[in-house]
């Protein structure tokens, strides 16, 4: 599983790739920790781009739940965007679609973050330095 990040105004997009399972969930948790801390401190938004994630297990879902809780405590936002169809099913079956903010596309997610984040994303400008 791999994680790369881009900044769009007050929003950070973390692009995840691969499987999130019992072997890789701890890796995800470690990768998200600084991003959550930063977004929380700024009361900003962290968008997880799931377009490249083909599977997530219960352990991975738990990492997302803890991340969302941490963001709520700091009045920040966590959004999950662009799920593959199989992952949509896993979110539905686990009912995580009810406790996380899930959007069909990255564009939809950034629209929920802020106008500036959406404008920056749509402008396809260079990534904002963190």
């Amino acid at each position: 599983m791999q994680v790369s990040t881009r900044h769009h105004a007050d929003a950070t997009v973390a692009t995840l790739t691969g499987r999130i399972d019992h072997q890789t969930a701890a890796q995800l948790e470690a990768a998200l920790a600084p991003l959550l801390a930063e977004a929380g401190a700024n009361r900003g938004a962290l968008v997880l781009d799931f377009a490249g994630v083909d599977y997530i297990s219960s352990v991975g879902l738990r990492v997302l739940m803890i991340a969302a809780k941490q963001m709520r405590e700091h009045q920040a936002q966590l959004l999950v965007a662009a799920l593959q169809s199989v992952v949509v099913e896993i979110f539905t079956i686990s009912r995580f679609n009810r406790i996380l903010t899930v959007t069909p596309t990255l564009d939809d997610a950034l629209a929920l973050c802020s106008p500036a984040a959406l404008a920056h994303y749509r402008g396809a400008g260079p990534a904002t330095p963190p």
Binding site: Y55, S57, L61, E89, I90, I93, S94, R95, R98, I99
Partner: protein, 319 residues
């Protein structure tokens, strides 16, 4: 080990169909029958066969009680929820009420919903019968006596005519009981609970209810994978959705269908049976959980298929 027979499958609190629930099922069946031939019994059966389980039947509402038919003469039972009462009646009828029966009963734990059937267990009133209650809790006998003390119940424990025995099972060790190897294992639940692994004649049944799985602890997961290893049937606490189990109902001591599928897949188990149904759920809700769990198994399947079912009062699973 030949067969598992479910006498009570509901968690926490027994429930019953309401008048409105029965009426809904009848109306659904009548609508399905519109315009179809209804002359013969076979016609009627065809209509019923086309209905979802939730419309044609019910999951039932008795508290946890599962009988394991081992091929031997003695009875094997897991837990004494309210389902123990109909099991006791059936056992009496099966052998014409004859004395001299032995019942081996394995207690997951001592919460009310798992012990409330004992005062209504008719074979325990029959002199000459033997009821052996196994568990790994130190307070096993005291808890069962206490539920029949005033002001909780009007009939004292001493009323039982059968010989009641209490046997402590050391967790993690296989105990040979009437031809069956029985191993208990500590589970995470308020006041502790224990799962049981039954092995006989090359078949394995695991009874694992009232068990929460801390996903952040890989060693816990591995312990359960080992306990479920190559089981022919895993009877599993699938009471909550995963989202509930790790958020608002974290530390409530129960698990989810998703964790059941994952553990069984990792363990190479053959059949997952969802058990200890949420009492809030109606039949349609349990039907939906079953369909979703089967779909999850399908989209996450490895080399072998895991059969998935949802327990209902009256279900029999042959091994």
């Amino acid at each position: 080990m030949m067969r598992a027979r479910f006498w009570g499958t509901r968690g926490s609190l027994p429930v019953a169909l309401t008048a409105a629930g029965v009426r809904h099922k009848l109306l659904t069946a009548l609508r399905a029958a519109r315009g179809r031939p209804l002359t013969t019994e076979a016609d009627l059966e065809r209509v019923l066969a086309g209905l979802p389980f939730a419309d044609a039947a019910t999951y039932g509402g008795h508290g946890p009680c599962v009988q394991l038919e081992t091929g031997g003469f003695d009875y094997f039972v897991c837990d004494m929820g309210s389902g123990l009462r109909p099991f006791g009646h059936a056992a009496m009828a099966q052998r014409s009420g004859g004395a001299g029966q032995t019942f081996h009963i394995f207690q997951s734990h001592l919460h009310w919903d798992h012990i409330m059937g004992l005062p209504f267990f008719v074979p325990a009133f029959v002199p000459g019968n033997r009821v052996v209650i196994y568990g790994s809790h130190p307070g096993l006998e005291a808890a069962l006596r206490r539920q029949q003390e005033p002001p909780s119940f009007p009939v004292d424990f001493s009323i039982f005519g059968a010989k009641l025995e209490f046997v402590h099972l050391e967790p993690g060790r296989a105990h040979q009981i009437a031809g069956v190897a029985v191993t208990s294992m500590l589970q995470r639940h308020g006041g502790d609970s224990y799962g049981y692994r039954f092995e006989s004649q090359g078949k394995v049944v695991v009874y694992s209810t009232d068990s929460e799985h801390p996903l952040e602890q890989p060693e816990h997961t591995q312990r359960f994978v080992n306990f479920f290893r190559d089981a022919d049937l895993v009877i599993f606490d699938g009471m909550y959705s995963l989202a509930d189990a790790v958020s608002v109902k974290a530390d409530w001591g129960h698990s989810s269908n998703i964790v059941g599928v994952e553990l069984c897949q990792m363990a190479g188990a053959r059949h997952l049976c969802l058990f200890h149904h949420e009492p809030v759920f109606d039949d349609a809700a349990i039907d939906a959980v079953l369909a979703e769990t089967r779909r999850l198994e399908e989209i996450t399947r490895g080399a072998t298929r895991l059969r998935v079912s949802a327990a209902y009062d009256g279900l029999e699973i042959g091994l």
